[in-house]
Point group: none
Chain length 402, copies 2
C-alpha cells in the first residue's frame, strides 16, 4: 500500500537521512522484572536523542509474526513482505555481489557429509571453516552444463551460492535438503511443470558436484535450498527519490540493499566506528545511508544477554562520530527482535527512535528502551511506515490533496 501513494508525493531536497539499524535490536528481560538488553545497556547518547526526539515501536510484518532477515529488512525499507517476496537464493547471491537478473535462477548451497550408504550424516559438513570450503568451491566452478551459464561463489563456512543463467529458466523448484540426517538428499524436483527443464539442469549440476567431491572426508555432498529469481523490486531512486547507500559488513544485508537499488559501499573494518567512517567518506554523494549493525542479532542468537548489551553500548559510544555528520533525520531501530532469552528472532515490537531537530515532536520519553518506546509519541506502527516518516521529516514529501 505504502509504495502505491508515496512516489507521487516525493519531492527533491538536499536533506540527509540515516537509518541506523541494529539487527535483532528488540529484546526481553532475562530475569522477571529486569531490564531488556537495550534497557540494561548504558547509552547516554541514544538517551539524549530519545529526549530530543520521539519514540515508538514497529511491527515488522504483522503482530505475532517472526520475520526472517530478508523480509524484516524489506519491511523497514518500506516493502510489505506479504506483497514483495524475495527468495533465499537471490538474497544469498546478491549478498556476495552476484548480480541476479530477472530470469536468472539463484540458489543457496550447503556442503554436507554423506555416509557410505549415501545418507546424510551431517547437514553442515561439520561446519567446515572458510579455509576448507574455499578450495572446494573453486572446484565446483569447473562444472559446465551445455546451454546455460553458471556462477558459483562461496558464502561462509559450509555455505555457497549457485546462479544459473539461460533462456526459459524457472524457479519453481523444491529444496533438496531433507532437513534431517539418516536419509539421502532429495532429487531436484520442479513444483511446477514450467520448471522441469530447470530442475533437470540443476540435477545435472548436483551430480557433477557429487562426482567432484566424492573423495572429500567431510564435504562430500551438497544440498540446494531456496531456488529463486530476481523479483524486480521497485527501486529506491524511483519510489523515494533517494540516492541511497548501504554500509553493511555482512553479505546478506548488502544483498537486500542492492535489490532495492542502494549502492553497496566497500570499506575496511567492521566496527561501528568503521561503518560511521565509511558513511563519512561518502556523505556528500548520497541522500540516504542505511547502516547495518549485525552483532546485536548474533549475540541475541547466542543467548548472550550481556554481550548484546555491550554491542549496543559500543554503537552508542561511536555515535558522536555519526552525529558530527549532522544528518537531518536519524532513525535508530532494528529489523526485528532477537531476545537473548529466546536465542532466536521473535515477533515482538521493535524499538524505534526518530530524531529530527527541526520537525520532531518530542514526547515524554527520555531513554531509549522497549518500555519507553511503547509509550512514545509515534505509537505502534508497521515497519513499512518508517520510510514515509523519515521522508516527511526530511522535507521530501509534498502535501496530499488540496
Amino acid at each position: 500500500m505504502t509504495l502505491e501513494y508515496i512516489p507521487s508525493l516525493v519531492r527533491p531536497s538536499d536533506s540527509k537521512i540515516v537509518l541506523l539499524l541494529m539487527d535483532g535490536l528488540g529484546g526481553l528481560p532475562i530475569t522477571p522484572g529486569g531490564p531488556t538488553e537495550l534497557e540494561a545497556a548504558n547509552t547516554p547518547h541514544m538517551d539524549r536523542l530519545a529526549t530530543e526526539g520521539v519514540l515508538g515501536q514497529t511491527i515488522p510484518i504483522r503482530p505475532g509474526i517472526t520475520p526472517g532477515s530478508g523480509p524484516a529488512h524489506l519491511a523497514v525499507f518500506g516493502y510489505d513482505p506479504l506483497i514483495y517476496d524475495v527468495g533465499r537464493g537471490v538474497l544469498s547471491a546478491s549478498g556476495v555481489g552476484i548480480k541476479v537478473n530477472p530470469g536468472d535462477i539463484a540458489v543457496r548451497g550447503n556442503f554436507c557429509t554423506k555416509d557410505a550408504q549415501g545418507n546424510i550424516a551431517d547437514r553442515r559438513a561439520g561446519r567446515i571453516p572458510n579455509e576448507e570450503a574455499l578450495p572446494l568451491v573453486e572446484k565446483l566452478k569447473s562444472i559446465q552444463i551445455p546451454g546455460v551459464e553458471l556462477e558459483v561463489k562461496h558464502l561462509k563456512e559450509y555455505r555457497f551460492t549457485v546462479v544459473m543463467r539461460g533462456d526459459g529458466l524457472n524457479d519453481q523448484i523444491a529444496d533438496t535438503d531433507p532437513q534431517q540426517t539418516g536419509v539421502p538428499s532429495l532429487p531436484v524436483t520442479a513444483t511446477n511443470p514450467a520448471a522441469e527443464k530447470t530442475a533437470k539442469l540443476f540435477q545435472e549440476w548436483v551430480d557433477q558436484a557429487h562426482e567432484i567431491l566424492k573423495d572429500q572426508p567431510k564435504a562430500n555432498g551438497v544440498n540446494l535450498r531456496g531456488f529463486a529469481t530476481n523479483p524486480t523490486l521497485p527501486q529506491y531512486k524511483d519510489i523515494f527519490g533517494l540516492k541511497a547507500a548501504c554500509v553493511a559488513v555482512y553479505p546478506m544485508y548488502r544483498g537486500v540493499a542492492h535489490l532495492v537499488g542502494m549502492e553497496v559501499i566497500e570499506f575496511s573494518g567492521e566496527s561501528p566506528e568503521d561503518e560511521f567512517r565509511a558513511a563519512e567518506g561518502i556523505w556528500k554523494d548520497f541522500d540516504f545511508f542505511f547502516i547495518h549493525i549485525k552483532k546485536t542479532d548474533s549475540k541475541g542468537e547466542d543467548g548472550d544477554f550481556e554481550g548484546k548489551s555491550k554491542v549496543i553500548e559500543g554503537v552508542d559510544n561511536a555515535l558522536p562520530k555519526l552525529l558530527k555528520l549532522e544528518p537531518d533525520v536519524l532513525i535508530i531501530t532494528g529489523d526485528h527482535s532477537t531476545p537473548a532469552r529466546m536465542k532466536s528472532h521473535s515477533w515482538h515490537p521493535v524499538p524505534l527512535l526518530l530524531w529530527a531537530p527541526v520537525t520532531g515532536l518530542p514526547d515524554s520519553q527520555s531513554t531509549f528502551g522497549e518500555r519507553a518506546c511503547a509509550l512514545g509519541g509515534i505509537g505502534t506502527i508497521p515497519a513499512t511506515e518508517v520510510m514515509p516518516l523519515a521522508l516527511a521529516h526530511a522535507n521530501r514529501l509534498a502535501k496530499f490533496g488540496a
Copy 2:
C-alpha cells in the same frame, strides 16, 4: 474499510454527538524543550474534559503524509482519502459555496502571463492580488457556450473556479497547465473518449477567456487544473444513520460537509460563541454537530504561536456554552497539524479528546496536549476510526457477531 462494516451495525438512538474540530490543531514546540501551542494554552475546561474523558492521537492519512484540507476532513468524517478521491475542482467549487452535483464538471482555474509568442512567462500571473483578479473574473462570467450552463467564481489571488452543467459531461480531462514556463498551455484534452465533447466545450471556454484577457498586462491567459465531478460519497444518513449538521464559517469546510450529506447551517457571527449558539439553535433537529474552528490553522500558517494558543483559549473559554447542551459524546480534535514553527500543514499525529460521561473509560491523563494525547487510552489510531468510536459511545452501534 470502515465504511464497509459500520453501516450494518448502526442502530437508532436519541443521543447527540458533537465533533468540535479545531483546524490544524496539532503543533510543535517553538523552542526546544518547550510546550506546543495547545500545551501552552490555558484550557481549564478542556483539561477537565481530558481528566473525565480519554485521550489519543490520530493519523490523518498515513504516517508521514501531510494532508490538504479536503482529504484531512474526509478522514475525520470517516472516509479514507486513499479510497475516496474528491477532485481539486470539486473541493474548490464546494469551498466557495457552489453546489457541484453528480455530472457537473468543476475545475480550478489559474490566471497566467503569456509572452508575445504565446508561451507561459508566469504560471501565476505575478500572483495578482484579489483586487486585480476580481474584475477579471467578473468579465469571465460573460462567457456563454450553447447547450451548457456555466458558473465562475473567484477563489483567492490568481485562482478561480469554473463549473459546467449539462447533459453527458465527463471529467476525464487532463490539466492544461504544463507545469513549466517557456512553453504554451496545453490544449484541453480528454483522457477518455467519453470526455471528448466536454473537452471541446472547455476549450471553447478557454478560447473565449483568452480573447477577453488578451490586453491584460499580467493576467492575459488561463490554465485549468483538476477537472472533477461530484464523486457521490456515501451519505452520513445512510452510512451512520445520522442527521448531521455543519456549523462552519469558511466555504471550504461547508463544502466538504455538504459532500458527505451534512446540512450546512446558516448563522451570523464567526466566533466560537457564535458557532456554539448556532448549534444551540438547531440542537433538537439533529443528531450530529460538526463545528469547525478555522483560526487555529490560520494562525499556524502565519507562524503565530501565541496567536494559535489564544484561539484555543478562546474556544476553551466558550466551551461551557456548548457543554450546557449536554451532548452525549463530545470529540475535540483537529483535521491535521499546522505547527506555527513550520507555517504549514504537517504530518504529525493530531490530538484527540473523547468525552462521554456514561461509557468513557478514563485514562491517566489530565491535560489536553500533544504529549498527554500520546499517552492516552485510545492510543494512536487512523482518523477514519474517530466516527465509529463516537457512534459506539453514543449507543449507536450494535454488537458485531453473536
